[in-house]
């Protein structure tokens, strides 16, 4: 008896197959949801994180806010940032002579302090996990995410980004003397 009831139930359940066809048929007639990428773009690219970029000083668009404190380097879990502090500027001949004189006189020569800015800011995008710790912990807010999310290359070296050069390129400034 139970077996027969089960068989009858199976027959009535066959209707579910028709219901399934109805669903897919209905979806077939609806418009597509695909965004055809090269011709169209999705609307919310702005909140998607691209590779890091430096934020410029409000006064000088070619100079970063960065004070080379190396906080970002130490907080980065993947070690993808390399920042070199700027060296003190070369003393002029008069200053050099003064320093020599001071040394001879047994005094400590007055050294020029190094400027608080990076001389190199290298960022290896291939290692970065875009976690946001560097940007959050930067004391001067010098790091942000770019919208350049389509960065592609066939060579791993292409992902070693020189962020200072990138900043200058965005500001339209010429590279400093001594670098190409």
């Amino acid at each position: 008896m139970q077996a027969i009831r089960r068989k009858l139930k199976d027959i009535t359940n066959l209707w579910s197959m028709v219901k399934g066809l109805k669903v897919t048929g209905g979806q077939f007639l609806k418009p597509q949801v695909t965004v055809h990428y090269p011709r169209q773009e999705v609307a919310n690219l702005a909140s998607f994180r691209g590779p890091l970029q430096l934020v410029a000083k409000p006064k000088d668009p070619a100079k970063p806010k960065c004070i080379a404190c190396l906080m970002c380097v130490s907080v980065c879990p993947s070690g993808c940032l390399t920042v070199l502090k700027a060296k003190p500027p070369k003393p002029t001949p008069e200053e050099e002579a003064a320093a020599r004189a001071a040394l001879e006189a047994g005094e400590k020569p007055a050294k020029k302090p190094a400027p608080k800015e990076p001389s190199r800011f290298i960022y290896d995008y291939s290692l970065c996990s875009l976690c946001g710790l560097c940007a959050e912990n930067c004391p001067v807010g010098s790091l942000s995410y770019s919208e350049n999310i389509y960065l592609t290359a066939t060579d791993a070296k292409a992902f070693k980004l020189d962020l200072l050069a990138d900043l200058r390129a965005r500001a339209g400034a010429a590279p400093p003397a001594g670098e190409e």
């Binding site: 066809l21 077939f28 949801v33 055809h36």
Partner: protein
Amino acid sequence: MEATLLDPRMFRIVAAAMALAAFVGLNALVLVYLERKIAGHVQRRPGPFEVGPHGLLQPLADALKLIGKQLFRPAGADALLFWMAPVVSFIPVLPLFLPIPFDPDLVAMHVEPGLLLILAFTGINVLALCMAGWGSNNKWSLLGASRAVAQSVAYEIPLLMALLAVTFMHGSLNLSEIVEAQGAWPWQWNAFIQPVAFIVYFTCAVAETNRAPFDLPEAESELTAGFHTEYSGMGFGLFFLAEYANMIVVCAVATALFLGGWQGPFFSGWWWFLAKTYALLMVIIWFRWTYPRVRFDQLLNINWKWLLPLSMVNLMVTALVMKLF
């Protein structure tokens, strides 16, 4: 009458075979495109879109890719069986089309027992799958082949019985005669006189051509790719072509036997035949993108416990009715 090479009938067969080969190839291209487009639209995406306008040239690109790929045989595979299998699966496809009447005149060969010819040649496909599965030296292929054999053998019986019921009614195995015996309007078609036979036939046809939800021999998520796991390039291409050609054949037979063939309201002709065949093909494609796959033992249960008794009862009732009236 002795057949010689210059016999006009011989000439007709050769010409028909060439035309049919072209027909099969062209249809496979169309079907691949249709399948992918329907799948795309069912899933709310465009399907192939980049090659040619609306992806029209995609099947050609696919075919070129398959032809250009290296033919690869795994170590330890039986070379003879491995390379014969795709050929064996494709060759019977051409004779399958010979007796199919697209039009009263558009028949490659008027074969009196045309249905028998078709049924005989569809059986060869199983042999090919078996060879592919055994010859590949791959455990997944072997499992796929064993499934294919059990499935095809089981489903051929109710398929045959469903067709027998129709041939009982008309007393003929000739497809053209059966088509002519039906009328132009849907209620004169065999599908409405023999609905049980039609449903049984169509279910078995889906299973015979290894299409979802009965695609167990290639069950992607279980057997990786089943019997054609190890095939690449045109080895796979021939299986693929044969699968699509078989689909066309079973749908064409259904059209001829159950849906009135070339006859239709207003304008009879081959376009009705093609339209009906393609409608059935689209239903099969629609099934594939809707249903999950049945399990192996359930597949056989459906056959032995449902389709076989159903088709037998149908056959007996048909015989009884024929005898009485």
